[in-house]
């Protein structure tokens, strides 16, 4: 799921950098205003925990095993804003120290995993984390955080006209689904294990803000849809917008989802261009909203020392 450099086309990685950097900045600034620097070792240690946790194998059948990705777990343990910071730290470390994921593509990876992934998991938890649906909420949060990150990455690759056959696309979606199921199960099991040791270590879902959270939820799902729409509608449009694409203009490879175009998007390149821009604008708007809402962290009574 970590996108390396030179896969995404320049408009895509550049846009995502431009989107993710201020979004992260807003979230980080809101969060640091409400925490003293003593939080920083906790976030660092939790980041190291997630790294280390990825070494533990969870048998998921057919002789295969999965491991924790950690976005949802961090969101439930630290709250969304701190989870965003921690995951971004993890991604940056992976890029520079372990060459896992690109440097220019950090914006894309941060957007997909640290921001969208955490956002989605938080939505499920905030809405249904209390009461009877709690286990389902935790599971679904984990499931969708991986699913959304994966689909976003896929969309970004498709929009960049990275050659992918239909089989590869569907196969990737299948792979994401399996990983997402594992993540849901692992996140649930680990949260339960943590709560058995100390319930105070897991955040209580905020009962207020329901409307905003619901809006966030709607946006999140819309985002996934937009991702697909972009892939289907935008290729030619973005090509004409993007001056610096690294892609040959006459591609024999059509975006595989072009066949899924809705009748609305006819062959008029202008409309596609508008769709592309609108989609990106939506993403940016979402980030701004997310920044404001996620940045509001409650005083974590459970985490005082």
């Amino acid at each position: 799921m970590h996108i390396p450099d030179n896969f995404l086309s320049t408009p895509v990685w550049a846009t995502l950098d431009v989107v993710a950097i201020p979004a992260f900045g807003i979230i980080a600034r809101h969060a640091s205003r409400q925490m003293e620097d003593a939080r920083i070792p906790l976030l660092g240690v939790m980041g190291a925990f997630v790294f280390a946790a990825q070494m533990i194998n969870f048998p998921v059948g057919l002789g295969t095993s999965a491991h924790l990705v950690g976005g949802a777990l961090l969101a439930y343990a630290l709250g969304p804003a701190f989870a965003v910071i921690t995951l971004t730290a993890i991604l940056a470390t992976q890029a520079f120290v372990f060459q896992d994921g690109g440097v220019l593509a950090l914006g894309a990876n941060v957007f997909n995993m640290a921001i969208a992934g955490v956002l989605v998991a938080s939505v499920f938890y905030q809405l249904w984390g209390r009461g009877r649906g709690r286990k389902a909420a935790i599971f679904l949060g984990g499931f969708f955080s991986v699913m959304v990150s994966g689909v976003l990455a896929l969309s970004e690759l498709l929009v960049s006209k990275v050659p992918m056959s239909r089989e590869l696309v569907l196969g990737s979606i299948g792979l994401f689904t399996m990983n997402a199921l594992a993540e849901g199960a692992i996140t649930l099991a680990v949260i339960q294990a943590i709560e058995r040791l100390n319930p105070g270590w897991v955040q209580k879902p905020e009962a207020s803000n329901r409307k905003i959270v619901a809006a966030m939820g709607a946006f999140a799902l819309l985002l996934v849809g937009v991702g697909f729409l972009l892939a289907s509608a935008a290729p030619d449009g973005l090509e004409r917008i993007g001056i610096l694409t690294g892609v040959a203009s006459k591609s024999t490879f059509h975006a595989p989802l072009a066949d899924y175009q809705l009748p609305f998007w006819s062959s008029n390149w202008g409309r596609r261009a508008v769709a592309g821009i609108a989609g990106l604008g939506l993403i940016f708007g979402l980030c701004a909203v997310a920044g404001k809402v996620l940045g509001r962290t409650r005083k974590e009574a459970a985490c005082t020392t």
């Binding site: 450099d5 070494m55 294990a193 024999t252």
Partner: protein, 238 residues
């Protein structure tokens, strides 16, 4: 282990090691951007970038073979897509993909291999990366191996006790979850201990500001020259 080797490499004192991290970061970004924005048909340009990268490797006095091999970790991924491109008829694109992804990895390795992580982080902070992020990465890296070792031990202990194949998948799943729960608890306790140790030495709410060091003329020359050369290679028509 990879990071250990990087740390060892970073202790050298080649001309590249001695450059300010900020200069190296800027040069790296220039290199990556130039690489990313070059169209696949421009084979000669990509060759010139490779020469620049090689020059960097030589100037860093890092073990060449080892570095070039480690940069190859990205190749399996790019080969897959390159093969698909090739059989889709886009030969140039396929070759360019492999070349560019590899050269990117080499460039990042040169910088990581000549700059100790704390110095690199100071450079980033000085260039505007939020303090919160830089500090979290610093602590993450500090405890990454301590906690990984703990995880390793837990894995070994479980393996030692899991000889019988009779353990059901569900049980092994649950015990892995339990292990992570314990690891989480120990990590949390560790964070508490760190906080206590910070307080005991007079910590008053603000981590000390890291000193980014002086940006010397040599650093400026290095950065400017690299960026100029790369821009020229990217834009000159040939």
């Amino acid at each position: 282990m990879h990071h250990v080797i990087l740390e060892r490499w970073a202790q050298g004192n080649s001309p590249l090691h001695l450059r300010d991290p900020r200069a190296k970061i800027l040069a790296l970004l220039a290199y990556l951007i130039v690489l990313a924005t070059t169209p696949p048909g421009a084979t000669y340009r990509i060759v010139t970038y490779a020469i620049v990268a090689l020059a960097g490797v030589v100037m860093s006095r890092l073990p060449i073979l080892s570095l070039l091999t480690r940069a190859g970790v990205v190749l399996p991924f790019s080969f897959t897509f390159a093969v698909i491109s090739w059989f889709g008829g886009e030969h140039l694109r396929a070759i360019a993909l492999v070349e560019k992804t590899y050269l990117s990895a080499v460039a990042v390795l040169i910088v990581s291999g000549t700059t100790p992580l704390p110095a690199l982080l100071r450079g980033f902070e000085s260039l505007g990366v939020p303090r919160v992020l830089v500090s979290v990465i610093q602590f993450l890296y500090r405890y990454l191996f301590v906690i990984s070792e703990q995880a390793q031990h837990m894995r070994l202990a479980a393996v030692c006790r899991g000889g019988a194949r009779k353990t059901s998948r569900r049980d092994r799943f649950q015990s892995a979850a339990g292990a992570l729960g314990v690891l989480f608890a120990r990590s949390y306790a560790r964070a508490d201990g760190i906080h206590r140790a910070m307080l005991a030495r007079g910590y008053n709410g603000h981590l000390p500001v890291a000193d980014a060091g002086r940006f010397r003329i040599a650093d400026g020359v290095f950065a400017a020259l690299t960026i100029l050369v790369l821009t020229a290679l990217r834009t000159l028509p040939y």
